[in-house]
């Protein structure tokens, strides 16, 4: 008994993994429908004119963004937490009935909230704030889910055997704290039926902030929700899974320190870059710009640390599609954290803001960096949770190339579209009149919207391959022994 290795318990990690795969496919399917709607408006009436109220772009958009961010990514993050947490803290979930109960409650309450959110958004129940569209009852539900996760984090830390917290744990703690702070302040709202004495919809509320202040708080939230849902926990994953999969130690502890503390301090300041040339004070806008540029340092610090972890082992990139996903993810992280600061420079932002270039930036980050890292992480975890090898290496390879092509089509078309749009809006003719009416800029984008929709569709096809490969891995591929699971993940043909 004494000398047996710890048996980790992946019950909760598995639940979150199933949901990540399911919502990943569903959320991106919604995204692909949106992309085709912008290319051909008839897709707004895809289920007939009677249901167009529920299938049009306006209603679907939030369902797409929220399900990918909070469904696909957060589920994957939590799957990774319930996997990595046990391993780096050297303690099993099975050792604490309490933490196991908290973990399951965390999952099921989260699922219940997710269902309510999707139905609500479909019905048009929204606070209008991007990535925070939920009305007050759901906001409270989110607090419950978040607190349960917090108990799980600090509970597991409390009974740990390994005293020193590994880098991934730093990032999970930061994610927990920052999102808690952002969520509470951005959703400060008053339900209208309380003061009015029960008039109108009970779920409706009004923001505690007005106008410019509301915008300021919203983009302090919006920008940093990106930071602390789509960046920090993904960095947590890359610090664990890339070294594990490649068998290489993290290149530099000092770079990890720089990357972590730098990111913590700098990221929040940069929110102002969403409000350049708005009615927010100019000094604040410039601060947003400057800190966005400074943000390159910690972002690239982590990314280079990842890249150098592969030092001397680059042949693994060619050999393993799983390493390909992780290295490509890091490449897109560098790419996207350079592109972001460029767009945050005021003169560039004057051109880029309100255009599709921003959408392109979001998606090279979300599809290239977050999507690929999550896919890599789930591929790495599944064989260890289910004690089976990956069903098909060649399918994984095909998925990688199809999705890479998809991302490239997506962001290149949106770059061109965005810059075209921005240039047309500001163009003057020889008489000093605006050269184009707004609709000219809409019509000009038609071909790029088609290319984008094709790119998105390719990525979605890759997601279906991923789901199939994972399903087979969980259910019917070859059973493996513990000693095959040390580093490189075993894969079938």
């Amino acid at each position: 008994m004494e000398n047996r290795p710890l048996e980790y318990d992946y019950t909760v990690a598995k639940l979150f993994m199933y949901n990540a795969i399911f919502v990943g496919v569903a959320g991106m399917l919604a995204g692909v429908v949106l992309a085709w709607q912008m290319a051909f408006p008839q897709f707004n009436y895809i289920l007939g004119m009677d249901l167009a109220e529920y299938t049009n772009f306006g209603r679907l958009r939030a369902i797409h963004t929220d399900s990918v961010i909070y469904g696909f990514v957060l589920s994957a993050v939590w799957s990774a937490w319930y996997y990595i947490g046990q391993r780096v803290l050297k303690v099993s979930m099975a050792e604490s009935k309490f933490l196991m109960f908290i973990g399951k409650a965390h999952f099921w309450i989260y699922m219940a909230a997710s269902v309510v959110i999707v139905i609500g958004l479909q019905l048009g129940i929204t606070s209008s704030k991007e990535y925070s569209e939920f009305e007050w009852p759901i906001d409270l539900g989110i607090v419950v889910v978040w607190v349960l996760w917090g108990i799980s984090i600090f509970g597991l830390i409390g009974i740990r055997r390994e005293k020193t917290l590994y880098i991934s744990i730093w990032y999970f703690i930061a994610t927990f704290l920052a999102v808690a702070m952002l969520h509470i302040f951005n959703n400060a709202e008053m339900p209208t039926f309380i003061i009015s004495g029960g008039i109108g919809n009970w779920y409706h509320s009004v923001s505690m902030y007005a106008g410019t202040n509301d915008a300021l708080v919203q983009w302090w939230f919006g920008h940093n929700a990106v930071a602390f849902v789509l960046t920090t926990p993904i960095v947590a994953m890359s610090y664990y899974f890339l070294p594990k999969e490649s068998g290489q130690a993290v290149y530099s502890y000092k770079m990890s320190l720089l990357g972590f503390w730098g990111l913590m301090f700098v990221y929040i300041w940069a929110g102002g870059h969403h409000l350049l040339f708005s009615t927010v004070p100019d000094w604040m806008q410039t601060m947003g710009s400057v800190f966005s540029v400074v943000l390159i340092l910690p972002s690239w610090g982590s990314a280079i640390n990842m890249m150098l972890t592969m030092k001397g082992e680059w042949q693994q990139v060619a050999a393993s599609p799983l390493i390909k996903f992780m290295v490509m993810a890091t490449t897109f992280y560098m790419f996207s954290t350079l592109e972001g600061p460029i767009q945050a420079i005021k003169s560039v932002n004057a051109l880029a803001h309100f255009t599709d270039w921003i959408i392109g930036h979001v998606h090279d980050g979300a599809l290239g960096w977050v999507g690929f890292m999550v896919i890599g992480a789930l591929f790495h975890m599944a064989p260890r949770m289910f004690k089976r090898e990956i069903y098909s290496k060649s399918l994984m390879n095909t998925q990688f190339w199809i999705q890479t092509l998809g991302v490239i089509l997506y962001f290149t078309s949106m770059w061109i579209a965005g810059i075209t749009q921005g240039m047309m809006w500001r163009a003057y003719d020889e008489f000093g009149n605006l050269a184009y009416s707004f609709i000219d800029s809409v019509v000009a984008l038609h071909p790029y919207y088609i290319i984008r929709a094709v790119g998105g569709t390719l990525y979605l096809i890759g997601m279906f391959m991923f789901a199939y490969n994972m399903y087979k891995t969980m259910t019917s591929s070859r059973v493996v022994e513990e000693n095959e699971l040390q580093n490189a993940t075993p894969m079938g043909a």
Binding site: R59, S128, K163, I195, G211, F265, W269, T279, W425
Partner: protein, 230 residues
Amino acid sequence: MFHWLEKNPFFFAVAVFVVIAFAGLVEILPNFAQASRPIVGAKPYSTLELTGRLVYIKNNCNGCHSQLIRPFKSETDRYGSYSKSGEYAYDRPFLWGSKRTGPDLMRVGNYRTTDWHENHMRDPEEVVPGSIMPKYPWLFKNIADVDTAYAEQLTIKQLFAVPYNKPLPTADGSTQTVALADSLDGAHASALEEAKVVVADMKDQAVKDAVAAGKIPEIVALIAYLNRLK
């Protein structure tokens, strides 16, 4: 120090939180009092306008249309004078948007009319060839939620002292007053009065009939809101 922090999760978490919270305190708080002060000419939304604003939000119009005119000549030429902070003092939530798939709407009331909106909402492509905006036929059928708008008005009046029933200064030196009814029935009656003004310029017989029967379709409220954006 870092090695010590990494062995002491509580202090680690405190340190992380302080580092994260710092920027918010320095950057966001100082502006609060100043930015929420209304500009001369700004006025709260009437019951029907606010009802229309809820329709605007419900259909995520802000997903494709901004309400923020940046201080560039190409923007002021196209949309009218650039946005001032005090103009947004009664906007809860703000509706600046982040993407212009369609044009800015901050001052759309200056250059579009009721019948233009009516035709456009029914079939955008017919009014603006090449438009990719979807049709909104349900706005002509759904009845607008005046109750919730009224509840919101009562809430903001009490909570944020929004000046309903008070004379407010305008740019030409005169004053204007936005009325708020003292009962739900009164709110419905005043919204219906506003609706009658809007439908006088509309063609859709079913919508006219609905208003005549005391009901307000969503399209009427939405147009009342759009007309007021100036």
